[in-house]
């Protein structure tokens, strides 16, 4: 599991990679909440996330809720089929804004 973050003061892009499971969820939670703390618009790059379980999903939900509390926004992009399947199973595919790629996410924001 790896993660990195970049962007502007208002827009933070968080790149997640690898298998996001119970072992790595605490680190992912910290990164996501840190991005929410620093930005108004958080874009989570899921392209290299090969696996996610309920603990990883919990991190995404918590970050989304924290973003909404501060009137910020959080969206996912480039979600691979396994992660999308998990989001769909939990009916979270309609809760999160999910975009095919970064360009689409930026365009959707207007």
């Amino acid at each position: 599991m790896t993660e990195s973050e970049n962007g502007t003061a208002s827009r933070r892009v968080v790149h997640l990679a690898g298998e996001i499971d119970l072992e790595h969820a605490p680190q992912i939670r910290k990164v996501l909440l840190g991005a929410v703390d620093q930005g108004r618009w958080i874009l989570v790059d899921m392209a290299e996330v090969s696996y996610i379980d309920s603990s990883g999903i919990a991190c995404l939900i918590e970050a989304l809720q924290e973003a909404r509390k501060k009137d910020a926004d959080l969206a996912l992009f480039a979600v691979n089929p396994q992660a999308l399947r998990v989001l769909e199973l939990a009916r979270l595919d309609t809760v999160f804004a999910i975009h095919p790629d970064l360009t689409s996410a930026v365009q959707a924001k207007g």
């Binding site: 396994q82 199973l89 809760v95």
Partner: protein, 152 residues
């Protein structure tokens, strides 16, 4: 959940057993378990997307045992048995954690979006059968079954 024939009780025929793995109830072991579950599911002719689903269900079951059963203390034992039945894959997970009351196992309502409490939902949504039993040897026995036709 399917109303198919009862799952085999008691010891499984050895020829049905794909593998049995005894491992320490620690989060850093789950990744390894995912590998053997996926390989076993594919060996049972489950479609790859269903094999990946079963991996998630077993991952969630292991998490529950580690976190709720053994309280993340890291010293407990889990025994995973994977068996090929005529029409699907049988997964058994045994632990020596305090007995659980199946009636108290609940997942959150899906419309109540908040972190956590999705693991048992994933297990029941993915698998055709999920049974929580007391293990005759003490502790708990979780049995889950996935049909090859992926009807779930």
């Amino acid at each position: 959940m399917s109303e198919a024939a009862p799952l085999p009780a008691g010891d499984l025929e050895l020829t049905r057993v794909l593998l049995e793995v005894r491992f320490c109830a620690r989060v850093d072991r789950i990744k390894l378990i995912r590998r053997v579950v996926e390989a076993s599911a594919l060996m049972c002719d489950l479609a790859s997307e269903h094999a990946r689903d079963v991996v998630l269900a077993v991952d969630e079951a292991c998490q529950n045992i580690i976190v709720h059963g053994y309280k993340s203390q890291g010293g407990g034992e889990i025994v995973l048995t994977l068996a090929s039945l005529d029409d699907g894959l049988l997964v058994e997970l045994r632990d020596q954690a305090p007995r659980i009351d199946p009636a108290r196992i609940q997942h959150r309502a899906l419309h109540d979006v908040k972190p956590g409490k999705l693991g048992c939902y994933f297990m029941s949504a993915i698998m055709d059968r999920v049974e929580y039993l007391p293990d005759p040897g003490g502790g708990n026995l979780l049995r889950m079954y996935k049909r090859k036709d992926g009807s779930s």
